[in-house]
């Protein structure tokens, strides 16, 4: 029963963070280069523009789901399994999501990077 809880939580954390990251990235591409906007319209106009973006709000919601399911998972499950598994899977899932939904050119260089980072995080995050 405890394993079921733990793995459900890991999958939930992973999916929620992938969805959240993808939505946030799309939102910020719609807002535009912040450094460029900063000089043009000022910081508060940027904040207003970001908060008015629907993808940003949805992304924050997904991030909140990921954050709280991680908190629950950490208190239920084996810490040395939950956080490396969830963060490692997030790197792989995000590479797929970025290619499919954000149309980023995930070339061989970036696939290798995603796999290396995922493996490294799995070893380090425990």
């Amino acid at each position: 029963m405890k394993h079921l809880y733990t793995w459900t939580a890991i999958l939930l954390v992973t999916m929620a963070s992938v969805v959240g990251d993808t939505l946030l990235s799309r939102a910020m591409k719609q807002v535009g280069d912040v450094h460029h906007l900063w000089r043009k319209v000022g910081v508060w106009a940027i904040v207003a523009r970001v908060l008015a973006n629907r993808n940003f709000i949805l992304g924050i919601f997904a991030m909140a789901v990921a954050f709280f399911s991680l908190l629950f998972a950490l208190s239920w499950g084996d810490v040395s399994l939950v956080s490396p598994a969830a963060s490692s899977l997030t790197f792989i899932g995000t590479a797929f999501a970025a290619k499919i939904f954000l149309h980023e050119k995930v070339d061989r260089r970036r696939w290798i990077a995603a796999l290396l980072v995922a493996a490294g995080v799995a070893l380090l995050a425990g």
Binding site: K29, H35, A98, E104, A113, A114, V117
Partner: protein
Amino acid sequence: MTFRKYLVLAGVTVFSAAGDSMLSYGMKQTGNISLHHLGSVIVAVFNPWIAVGIVLLLAFFASYVNALSWADLTYVLPATSLGYVLLALIARFALHEHVSLLRWLGIVLISGGVSFVAGGPALTSHKHQEKSYTPESEATRVTGIAGSGDSYQGMPSGVPYPIAESAPLGADSSTDE
């Protein structure tokens, strides 16, 4: 890539590492959170370590969102993983803890992965390609002006003549939308 952009990526790394470690330290003090005692979440938030951790994670979030506005998701995300490397190095060299061979291997893998990504372009998505060029061209224009010996930065009150030379700086505003 400007110096300020590297600074933002460094913020992503440092704030995520510091925030995560504060949060996990605080969670060890408050103990388990269960669905039957949701009030314990509120108690946890008032733990000072967790509170500082949340503030640091907000700073992480600000730099993360900032970076996402000018770089790919698959470019920014590896920067967050450097936080783990930072934590392991702090554990080894500041706290003099033992770092196992497997963790050193993890450091090598993450560093390798990040350097793979860092060697490539920051932004590749077609739709917004032109946006990445706008600040660059503006930057070269600004340095061009600075290089010509004109270090003039602002417009003091009481300037007797209109400053027509500064017009090209704002002229690229039409290319942004």
